[in-house]
Structures are given as structure tokens and as C-alpha cells.
């Protein structure tokens, strides 16, 4: 598989310090029974009276890439947005159920959202770098969380190397991030999320607004990052899901347009031997 060879070719930089896990070929499923990073139980999200997602129960495995696929409007984005409490920003949104991270239900209203968002980072559909320099984009999170100015240079360099962006931007760190290409901007946004050293990175269709070359770079990066991070990626693109993910959850909509999870399992199983007819119809392109 091209992705694995590119990953092993040494073109991409080292992942952030502290990771020792050897690269695994994506799509092969868990090497051994992996620990669960986030245990989602009966997650239901309402926007006003509209039920966007119903009764999702899903164990996000640690240090793996979990893909969430399904037709438009099936609540994929809502699920990931509720995990780092971005749903708090939507007036009228109600989230019920549990998402257990290290024994704590992070969906409870009393939970410190700053801490949750620090531990569970997010990359959005469209690149959204701040209108600041490349350096200041990466340094934004660490500054928030109290990294001292004299340590910032090192954090920024390490993070950009980890995001395989260092060689492209090292000579223009203090130029505007908005001058980068779309793909580079998105990788900068991934670096910005990595800089606060989260345990989980949520990606909401991270490559949907990016050209094919940029998409390839992002997929390579995701393959690199799963040694260090737990990644959840929402994608419309089934080829992408099969290329980058270890496990896949397939979502679809009920008659009342509420999203629900149909099937969850190793990516290779979902794509080659799905148990559910709906999954088979979707991955074979017969619907959606």
C-alpha cells in the first residue's frame, strides 16, 4: 500500500517525543486488544426538538485511527463535536449519555470544558488558522496553558516537525499563516492542535476542502500521528477511511432523520465483510 511505503520512506519527520510505537499498516485492525480511550455510551444529541444523534455506543480505541463514515446529515460531525464540547456553543443543543475519558464522564455539564478541550483537540473541516504568524498559530495553545516564552521556540519547532511541516515553513515562521496553501494551512491547524499535547485529536472531514496532493500529505500525517495520539476522523470519502483508519463506525439516518450507528468494527471488516446490509449497500456505493 502506497501510504505505508511513504510512511516508511523517511520523508516524513519524526513524531513528537515520547512515542515509541512502531508504525502499523493501516486498515489491518488492532494489533492486540487495544485499550479504550473514550467509551461512548448512549450518546444522544438534540438541537432544539430535532434529534440529531440517537443512542450511540462506541469505544474509541487508544492510539488508533477511528473513522466515522456515513451519508450527509447522519450526525457524524455532531458526535465528534460533542466529544470536545463544541456543542456547548450551539444555542438549544442538548447532549445526554456518557463519554468516559479516564473514568470521568466528560459530557457532564459540571466538567471543566477547558480541560476537556485541552485533552481532546479538534481539527475542522475548513482550515481555520488565526490571522497571525505561523509561529503564533502554533504557540497559541501552549501560551494559553502557561508555557513560558523562552520555551516556546522549542515547542513550536518540535510540534511543526511532528506535523511534518517544519521543512516547508522554517524560513517563514513569522509570516502570516494565511499565505500558506490550503493543505499547508490544514496541517498547520493539526500542528496547532498537537501543540497543546492532547490525548485525542478529532478531525471533522479534515481534507474535504483540500486538493488531492494536500489530502495525501494529511493522510500521511494521520498515519504518523496515531503512534502518539488517538485519532477520530469523520469523512465522506470512503477510500480515505479505508486508507487511514484502523476501525470504522458506519452511521446512517432513521426515518425521523436522527443519526444512529449501524455497525462498528475493524476497517477491513467493514469494507470487505460487513455484517449489516445497510453498511454493505453504503460501502459498495449502492446508496449515499
Amino acid at each position: 500500500m502506497t501510504l505505508a511505503t511513504q510512511h516508511d520512506s523517511g520523508q516524513s519527520s519524526l513524531p513528537a517525543a515520547g512515542s515509541a510505537a512502531p508504525p502499523r499498516p493501516p486498515g489491518a485492525g488492532p494489533a492486540s486488544a487495544p485499550a479504550t480511550r473514550i467509551a461512548i455510551h448512549n450518546l444522544t444529541v438534540h438541537y432544539g426538538t430535532f434529534c440529531a444523534v440517537r443512542n450511540v455506543t462506541l469505544d474509541i480505541p487508544a492510539n488508533q485511527v477511528t473513522a466515522i463514515i456515513g451519508p450527509s446529515g447522519c450526525g457524524k460531525s455532531t458526535v465528534v463535536r460533542s466529544l470536545n464540547r463544541m456543542t456547548d456553543l450551539v444555542p438549544g443543543a442538548r447532549v445526554s449519555g456518557e463519554a468516559i475519558l479516564d473514568g470521568e464522564n466528560i459530557l457532564r455539564p459540571e466538567v471543566d470544558v477547558v480541560n476537556v478541550r485541552r485533552r481532546i483537540g479538534m481539527v475542522f473541516q475548513r482550515p481555520n488558522p488565526f490571522p497571525k504568524s505561523i509561529y503564533d498559530n502554533v504557540a497559541y495553545g501552549p501560551r494559553l496553558h502557561g508555557v513560558r516564552d523562552r520555551d516556546l521556540d522549542e515547542v513550536v519547532e518540535r510540534t511543526l516537525r511532528g506535523a511534518a511541516l517544519w521543512d516547508e515553513v522554517k524560513d517563514k515562521l513569522h509570516q502570516s499563516a494565511l499565505a500558506l496553501s490550503g493543505g499547508q494551512q490544514q496541517r498547520l491547524c493539526i500542528a496547532r492542535a498537537m501543540a497543546v499535547e492532547p490525548e485525542v485529536i478529532l478531525m471533522d472531514e479534515p481534507a474535504s476542502a483540500i486538493d488531492p496532493i494536500g489530502t495525501l500529505r494529511i493522510e500521511e500525517l494521520i498515519a504518523d500521528l496515531r503512534a502518539t495520539y488517538t485519532i477520530v476522523i469523520v469523512t465522506h470519502n470512503m477510500q480515505q477511511a479505508s486508507r487511514v483508519s484502523d476501525v470504522t463506525a458506519f452511521f446512517t439516518m432513521d426515518e425521523d432523520r436522527a443519526g444512529y450507528m449501524v455497525e462498528f468494527g475493524p476497517t477491513i471488516e467493514i469494507f470487505t465483510n460487513p455484517r449489516n446490509q445497510l453498511t454493505e449497500d453504503y460501502v459498495s456505493g449502492r446508496f449515499g
Binding site: R117, R118, G121, K132, V196
Partner: protein, 272 residues
Amino acid sequence: MLGLAGLAAFLAVLPLAWIIVYVTQAGLPALTLDFFTNLPTPVGVPGGGIINAIVGSAITVGLGLLLAGPVGTLVAIYATANAERPIGTVIRFATDTLSGVPSIVMGIFAYTIVVLPQRHFSALAGGVVLAFIMLPIVIRSTEEMLKLVPSSLREASLALGAAEWRTWRNVLVPAAWNGILTGLMLAVARAAGEAAPMLFTAFGNPFMSVSLDQPIATLPHTIYIYAISPYEDWRAKAWATALVLIILVLALNVAARYVTGRRARKLGTVTR
């Protein structure tokens, strides 16, 4: 149809050009270097200037900006953050109403709350009334600029674990800063030209004063005093003072646009 629109555009630009040409013609003869550096002289004594009014306008407008700038920016942030709640609508309505209050009424109001308790006219009262005049302009222009900042930036900052206030301070306000600055300049330009409220507050002063506690001369008020006088010499000075006022406001605007434009090109921030 397009010809009619073109004609309308011409008619819209005409007054500005006409004013500038006319004021320049009428004001230029009296505009010497001494005019910028000397104090006014009594009628008939040649060579007087308006340095006291230039300094006075700088002080009162500066004070107004100091009062209205931060408050107005904070109000705009609050209104933008609560745009969909009733309080946002209330603020917008109140701001629009405030900007519709005639400046002479503002002047009487400032007279009542500052001049009467103090028992004398002062630069402070002038600054306060200019702050009232600037406040709605600052609020509305800042709010418009903040609305242009994409909500994805707010999401990005919050998703990194930033608190709401830090998101405003470190991302959203800086992203809109050029536009905010342009709004402040608009407010300054408007305040610098106000003569009517100065009659009740700063009052005017033929001598140099830099004290906030004393009456102070301002450019528009000086124009008023000179223009209604029966002396040919003073009326010429009124035109010259008008020219100085126009030039100063124009220079301020050009400078602000230059500075913000350079910053906008560098960082790609929102601009007007």
C-alpha cells in the same frame, strides 16, 4: 439608467470637491507658519495664530477617544457575543438612538453633569461631551467589524481550550483590529468638527491652556467665533482655521489607513 447613477455619483462627490477647493482658496492667504505657532492676537494686531485651538482640539478629542474608545469596544464585544439574545438587540437600539441625539443636546447634557457641579467650563467637560458623540460611532463600527470575523476562528480558539474572554482578546479583536481602528478614526473625525457642544463645555480660551480644569479653545469653536465676527481679518482667519481642521482630519485618516493597510497586507486581517 447607469448614466443617471453616474450623474448622481458626480453630484455626491461634487460638494466634497467644492468645499475643499473653496476652503483652500479662502483660507490659504491667511495660512502662514505663524498661524500654526502663535496665539491669537486682539483685533487689528497682525500675526495671530491658533496654536491654542490646535492643542485644545487635540486634548478634548484625545480625552474623548480615551473615554469612548475602550468603553465602546467593550460594549461592541458584549453586543456581538450576545447578538442573538435580547440584550444584543437592546444595545443596538440604544446605540442607534444615542447616535441620533443632536450634538447640541449632548452639549447641554454635559453642561448639566460636568459644568454645573464644577461651576466652570473646562476641557474635561469638552472631552466628556465628545466621548458621548463618539461612543455610538465606535460601538457600531466595531460591532460591524467583529461580525466580519469568521466564527471558525472563535471555534478554533475555544477548541484549543481558550476561555471566551481570551478568545476575544487574543484572536477576535486582533483579527478585526484594522476595522476597529478605522471606526475610531471616523469617530475622531466627527468629534474634531463639533462646534455646538463646545459652546456649553470647553467654552473657548484666547490663551494657551493645557489644563483639563480650565476652559480651552478648539478648532471648530474658533471657526465659529471668528466667522461671526464683524472683522475682515478674523473672517479670513476663520477660513484658514477651517482649512487647518480639514487638513488635520484628512491627514489622520490617511495615516490610519496607511498603518492599518500595511498590517492587513501582512496578516490578512479583516478590514473595511
